[in-house]
Amino acid sequence: MSSIPDELHYTKEHEWVAGVDDGLTLTVGITAYAAEALGDVVYVQVPEVGASVAAGDAVGEVESTKSVSDIYAPVGGEVIEVNAAVVDDPSLVNSDPYGEGWLFRVRLEGDVDDLLSPEEYTALTSGSES
């Protein structure tokens, strides 16, 4: 059973979003569930700092031994910081998906829509959890 921290929000695309309740700067990563499903992550492409993104945009990708997946912007805004460490060492996504493996930060513009609560994300992933 992979962990689903209580203080985060989630998306159907298996990303987590931190900071929704307390500010305009949101941090985005992929969940432990997604990291486990991908296997060893070998390449991470993050959006460029300064890029303007809309919720649902494909803004990067995560590549593992067996597959490649898009990273989506969970909210609209401006990308203000990216995690250079995870680009340099993509295995951080596997070893610490909610910490050192974070991907990028967005300065929120507009509203936050359609994010899942920890309970909703647990329900989304429990059906196929082995």
């Binding site: 486990e36 296997g39 390449y43 492409q45």
Partner: protein
């Protein structure tokens, strides 16, 4: 529903990620597939390959029947030896690639891919009709466990009195392993020294347990299909459905050496293949190494100067090279200035000789 192998319970207890592969529920990886890959290169890995098909061809004309049914010269194979060969259709298209073991003068075991063994068994039965030979698909009776890697001989020697030193590459030996009957074959799909153990289904769990215990001091790890795929790719070995298909002949795949026109008699595919043997195919199978970090994958176009000149058949990040590698079919006259179209962006690749990885002997 996918069929489980006799080792399903073992995989689940090990926490494996299971996946459907050719209708079978197989371990994809147990933990990190990179760790499993490196264990096979540096120590040893333990694989469940029970999805493979075992088809027996027996009788006074078993060798002649296989000479007719396959592209190789199997009647010339010494008992105890094995051969890599193929079965093709009348047009010369590859139906499967196979390893054939001659267990006794009148007994052969044909090992076919999981995705194809029903087709292979049916074709063999049809093609053997005119011969004094019987074809018996025993895939449901046999499990297959492979021990692969530089320490595999030491590990297996802990469990058997069989003469492993005398067992050559591509040879097989009936033996007793951990008190269980097994056919020990020195074959594999990883580019390392190693063994494949053909065993009765009921012996699979105890043998897996015995090998796990014996291998522990040597760094043996269970390894899944994900590691198996990257290991065989580094070794330049083709995978049916990727590098091989019914739309390609053995010559197209650069494996024309398996077609033995010098054997006596006709064989299925001879008339279609004979005219091709001296004609270079329009595309050739090559190795590609990416200069960047994005991975060329199955089905991606190979491009040069904005024109499609080939297609990737398999690709993965390579542990041994530290860069993404791929096999591809590329137009004959193209070797320089190639790129792979990776989801819209053209990433440069270099053409290299296969295999990507060769073990130190």
């Amino acid at each position: 529903m996918s069929r489980p192998t006799p080792l399903r319970g073992v995989h689940e207890a090990l926490g494996a990620t299971l996946t459907d592969f050719a209708g079978w529920l197989m371990p994809l990886r147990y933990g990190s597939e990179s760790v499993e890959h490196n264990a096979v290169r540096q120590a040893a890995g333990l694989f469940d390959l029970s999805h493979m098909g075992e088809i027996f061809v027996t009788g006074p004309q078993a060798g002649e029947a296989l000479d007719y049914a396959l592209v190789g010269h199997l009647s010339a194979l010494e008992p105890g030896r094995a051969r890599y060969t193929m079965i093709v259709n009348a047009e010369g298209g590859v139906l499967d690639d196979l390893i054939v073991y001659r267990l006794a003068p009148e007994e052969f075991m044909v090992v076919a891919n999981a995705s194809n063994y029903a087709v292979v068994a049916a074709a063999l039965a049809e093609r053997a009709k005119a011969f004094d030979a019987a074809v018996d698909d025993r895939s449901d009776r046999y499990a297959l466990i492979a021990v692969q890697g530089p320490r595999s001989a030491e590990i297996l020697a802990m469990l058997t009195d069989a003469d492993l030193d005398g067992l050559k590459y591509y040879a097989g030996l009936p033996a007793t392993v951990a008190g269980r009957p097994a056919l020990i074959a020195r074959t594999g799909y990883t580019g390392e020294d190693g063994f494949e153990l053909f065993i009765e289904n009921g012996d699979a769990e105890p043998l897996w347990a015995a090998l796990t215990d014996a291998g522990e001091p040597y760094g043996l790890r269970p390894a899944g299909l994900s590691a198996r795929d990257t290991l065989r790719l580094e070794a330049g070995m083709p995978l049916y459905g990727n590098e091989l298909s019914a739309g390609l002949t053995p010559f197209d795949a650069g494996l024309g050496r398996v077609v033995r026109f010098d054997k006596p008699g006709d064989f299925v595919g001879r008339s279609a293949l004979e005219p091709l043997k001296d004609v270079p195919p329009s595309r050739r199978r090559v190795g590609l190494v990416a200069t960047g970090r994005r991975v060329p994958r199955h089905g991606y176009p190979v491009v040069a100067d904005g024109t499609v000149v080939g297609e990737v058949t398999s690709g993965a990040p390579s542990q041994s090279l530290g860069r993404p590698i791929a096999m591809a079919y590329v137009d004959n006259d193209r070797a320089e200035g190639l790129a792979v179209d990776i989801r819209g962006s053209h990433e440069p690749v270099e053409v290299v000789d296969l295999p990507f990885y060769r073990r130190n002997k």
